[in-house]
């Protein structure tokens, strides 16, 4: 396979509206051949819409795309692939039960009815020799690490001879060292003029370290462009969030030690296939503290949260709140004042088709004053209480009666906050609370979590975002392959040490 030259891509005056929402407003983007270009912006700034227009998932209302200096008409992702534009999505699109080689071969547009594996394998080996990094071709994808999977995604595009690579937050599933390796390889390939890379990101460090140039979007408009190596972080963040300025981190105050602590003693749980996903986890969350559990997703953190919230059976071990044994039943949630902010609220915390007010009532619908002793509900009171909390927690919704699925991600999470944090909280179990949310929501939500801690709640926080853990947690634990492999007070550790334990290189 002959390596072609890296292509260039420009968009001119791209606009796209969804109903009344102007998602893209006159965006002109210039990605030079052989460059590593960053596309920055808050959630909802229009980054994904822009690349989806380039890829042909959406048709822009106005504007045009120039590819290698020629106007390109991209009506579908198929057209984009034919031009040589490929995309790596935030989540893997590999088939886990096939090998790396099989994944590469089935990705071809012209996979024959009968695959001659001998010749395919020769082609693959020849192709791999030209690549700057390697992936074990015979390994099942399910056995590859996240970093290897991400490399395989990139190899897949190169194997299809797609030389303009669009990456949508490619490092969100990687450890810091894996991320640096993948981005370094991409930068080197770009500088050798093998590929051109357009990367959606919101991590300033990665942009500053690896990218050549950047474009910032804000509310669908182009907020700035320039040289990534010379721009300061302050400048970049100003372009991203405008004059609102950087939010101050949530303030931490000494908490009263009145509430009971949450103890996890030797917890173990299995997945559907019978593998241990949580093994012998022992951890204490003292009252008035946040204990953060860091780790790459899929190392048992979600399973641990599921055990604590009753979504997964506990195999062995026991949970206590204070001195009393705890099991995740509705009565115990109320008795011990245990509340939760699960990850992906639309999947774990709300019923998408029920109204906002009904969703807010999930904790209280079976108690006075929303229901009487016979179990008869009062829809009027549910609605009234919902409207009050919607106002108090600043949930943007067209009505308390709107289905909650019509709200944006940040507002769904605010509605869940309104439900879980409107009363006294002794234990709070939180998982990736800010994933995919915009700056304003992130500030709100972290502030509320800190407020609960400051009032004396024991907070268990699972997050894939190390910055979030370092901002909020009093103690940091690392979870790897279902076990707690590291525990330290936040003051006594740093990103490097935690990162090493996340990557499994701890002492």
């Amino acid at each position: 396979m002959t390596a072609t030259q890296a292509p260039s891509l420009r968009t001119f005056h791209m606009s796209k509206a969804f109903g009344q929402l102007q998602a893209l407003d006159d965006i002109s983007l210039d990605v030079a051949a052989g460059s590593f270009h960053a596309l920055l912006g808050e959630n909802g700034a229009g980054k994904s819409t822009l690349v989806k227009c380039i890829m042909g998932f959406y048709q822009a209302d106005a504007g045009q795309v120039m590819f290698n200096g020629h106007e390109a008409k991209v009506r579908s992702p198929r057209d984009a692939h034919a031009l040589g534009i490929g995309m790596v999505y935030q989540h893997f699109t590999l088939v886990p039960c096939l090998t790396a080689a099989e994944n590469l071969v089935i990705a071809r547009a012209d996979t024959p009815m009968v695959i001659n594996w001998k010749t395919e394998r020769k082609r693959l080996d020849a192709f791999m020799e030209t690549m700057p990094f390697q992936v074990r071709l015979d390994a099942l994808v399910s056995t590859l690490s996240a970093g290897e999977k991400q490399k395989l995604e990139i190899l897949k595009l190169l194997y299809l001879n797609q030389r303009f690579l669009i990456l949508d937050e490619p490092t969100s599933v990687l450890t810091p060292s894996e991320a640096d390796e993948v981005l370094g390889v991409l930068r080197d390939m770009a500088h050798r003029n093998d590929v051109t890379v357009l990367m959606i990101s919101h991590k300033f460090r990665e942009v500053k370290t690896f990218c050549d140039s950047f474009t910032v979007l804000r509310r669908g408009k182009c907020a700035g462009t320039g040289d990534a190596r010379t721009a300061s972080i302050a400048e970049l963040s100003h372009m991203m969030i405008g004059d609102a300025g950087l939010r101050p981190p949530a303030t931490r105050t000494a908490a009263p030690k009145s509430a009971p602590a949450l103890h996890l003693n030797n917890l173990s749980a299995r997945d559907v296939e019978g593998r241990h996903v949580v093994s012998n986890v022992t951890l204490t969350v003292p009252a008035g503290q946040i204990v953060g559990i860091a780790g790459v997703s899929g190392n048992g953190q979600s399973a641990l949260i599921e055990v604590l919230s009753g979504q997964r059976a506990l195999e062995s071990g026991h949970i206590t709140v204070g001195d009393a044994a705890f099991s995740p039943t509705r009565r115990n949630f109320d008795r011990f004042k245990v509340f939760g902010l699960p990850e992906e609220p639309l999947r774990n915390a709300v019923v998408p088709r029920m109204t906002v007010a009904e969703n807010i009532a999930f904790r209280s619908f079976d108690k006075s004053p929303l229901a009487n002793r016979l179990g008869i509900l009062s829809p009027a009171r549910i609605r009234k209480r919902g409207a009050e909390l919607i106002n108090k927690f600043n949930v943007h919704t067209s009505s308390p009666d709107a289905p909650i699925e019509t709200l944006s991600g940040g507002n769904v999470q605010r509605a869940v906050l309104a439900r879980e944090l409107s009363g006294a909280v002794d234990v709070l179990i939180v998982a990736n609370p800010c994933f995919g949310l915009d700056f304003a929501s992130v500030a709100d939500i972290r502030g509320k979590i800190m407020e609960s801690r400051n009032k004396g709640a024991a907070v268990l926080l699972v997050s894939e975002d190390l910055d979030e853990i370092f901002e909020l947690a009093d103690q940091i634990a690392v979870m790897s392959e279902g076990q707690i492999t590291y525990l330290a007070a936040t003051a006594d550790t740093d990103t490097m040490q935690v990162g090493q334990h996340i990557a499994g290189h701890g002492k």
Binding site: F18, G19, L21, Q22, A23, N43, G44, A45, K47, S48, T49, R219, S309, G310, Q311, P328, T329, R330, R331, N332, F333, G340, P342, R347, N348, A349, V350, V351, P352, R353, M354, T355, E358, A361, F362, R363, F365, D366, A371, G375, I376, L377, P379, A387, N391, H396, T397, S398, S399, P400, D401, A402, P403, T406, L407, S408, G409, G410, N411, D438
Partner: protein, 368 residues
């Protein structure tokens, strides 16, 4: 992304509920219209006149007091079997077990009534008791599918369907064996109930009291599902099982309870078929009311109140079947073809909820 200006922010739109209700009515009605059009094409291909067909459905189903009563007579069991599908559907379970619960409920009603009659009990005491037994048997039978689902992970759709065939086989086995009335020479049946144990018609009509029971149950179950903590919990579990678990709701018990309620409704339908229609239990109990009930519940969008008018619609189709057969010289299966087409268009229409632009309740969706 939120582009709502601060001044607009607090102005709630009052029409969100209305839009939801309008959608829930217009989409099924649209599906019915499409089904009627497709069926008209089917008739035209056969060289029959669709206008005449729908005219005959009107004549046979609703045009006179006689045909109206005929319709309601057939609607009565459909209300109950429609409820039997709708209630577990709200908690996310697809149960095809109503036919089996109806058959077993009817059968136990027939065989438990006999010794009471022979012992000379008053029907005023005996009939409610028999009705309770029929409902319990139906409840246990379908509850079994819920139990298997929760404790053994068995797919409830398959198990309830298979339980239906087992129920029919059990009834046939017993009716042709130990419980056979030696006098039933043509068609194996249980002993007929004496006249004073037969439930009569609602005064002034030819419609039996099963219709009233259906109406009362539909209203009670509506209150249960919409206005009680049980129904609210069931709706949470049906809408998002993981969220229900995270709220500590007893999802297993909720599922089994709604299966048992479903079975009890179907069992009651069986009771009325025996004490009001047939007077004994035999193979005619398995008249597919349980399966038509699925269609009824689907068209009613699992709303227990809406089950009533929809059951009447299907009752009218059934009532006019004979007329269509005679006047248009068409086979008995014609109505089944129409029912099948309605079912398919309904399933397709399910995909339109939330997608029709004029029902959108909010523009603040996040598109990134």
């Amino acid at each position: 992304m939120s582009v709502i200006s601060p001044t607009m922010r607090r102005r709630f739109r009052p029409d969100a509920r209305i839009a939801t209700i309008a959608e829930a009515i217009l989409i099924p009605v649209g599906a019915l219209i499409v089904a009627a059009l497709v069926f008209s094409v089917f008739l035209l291909v056969l060289g029959k006149d669709p206008v005449r067909f729908f005219g005959l459905v009107w004549t046979g189903g609703a045009a006179s007091a006689f045909s109206l009563q005929n319709t309601l007579q057939r609607a009565a069991p459909l209300i109950l079997t429609g409820l039997a599908f709708a209630v577990p559907a709200r908690i996310g379970l697809t149960l095809l077990g109503a036919e089996g619960a109806l058959v077993l409920g009817g059968f136990t009603a027939a065989v438990t009534a006999i010794p009471m009659i022979q012992a000379g009990w008053s029907p005023w005491i005996g009939l409610p008791l028999v009705a309770g037994i029929a409902m319990s048997v139906g409840g246990v039978w379908v509850g079994l599918a819920g139990w298997l689902r929760h404790y053994r992970g068995v797919n409830e759709t398959i198990s309830s369907l298979l339980l239906t065939y087992i129920a029919i086989a059990i009834m046939n086995f017993l009716v042709e064996g130990v419980f056979r009335d030696p006098g039933s020479t043509n068609k194996a049946s249980t002993m007929p109930l004496s006249a004073d144990w037969r439930i009569g018609d609602i005064p002034g009509t030819s419609v039996h009291w099963g219709l009233v029971a259906g109406l009362i149950l539909a209203a009670l179950l509506w209150i249960l599902m919409e206005r009680t903590t049980f129904g609210f919990s069931a709706r949470i579990a049906g809408g998002n099982l993981r969220a229900a678990q995270a709220q500590g709701l007893p999802v297993g018990r909720l599922a089994i309870a709604s299966c048992a309620i479903a079975g009890a409704c179907a069992g009651l339908a069986g009771f009325f078929e025996v004490v009001a229609v047939h007077g004994q239990a035999n193979a005619s109990l398995a008249a597919k009311y349980g399966f038509t009930g699925i269609l009824v519940a689907f068209l009613a969008r699992q709303n227990t109140l809406a089950v009533v008018p929809v059951a009447c619609l299907f009752g009218a189709l059934a009532a006019s079947g004979g007329l269509v057969q005679r006047r248009m010289d068409m086979p008995d299966a014609t109505m089944l073809v129409l029912q099948g087409i309605i079912f398919v268009t309904l399933l397709v229409s399910e995909t339109f909820y939330g997608r029709l632009p004029f029902f959108r309740t909010s523009q603040s969706g996040d598109r990134t």
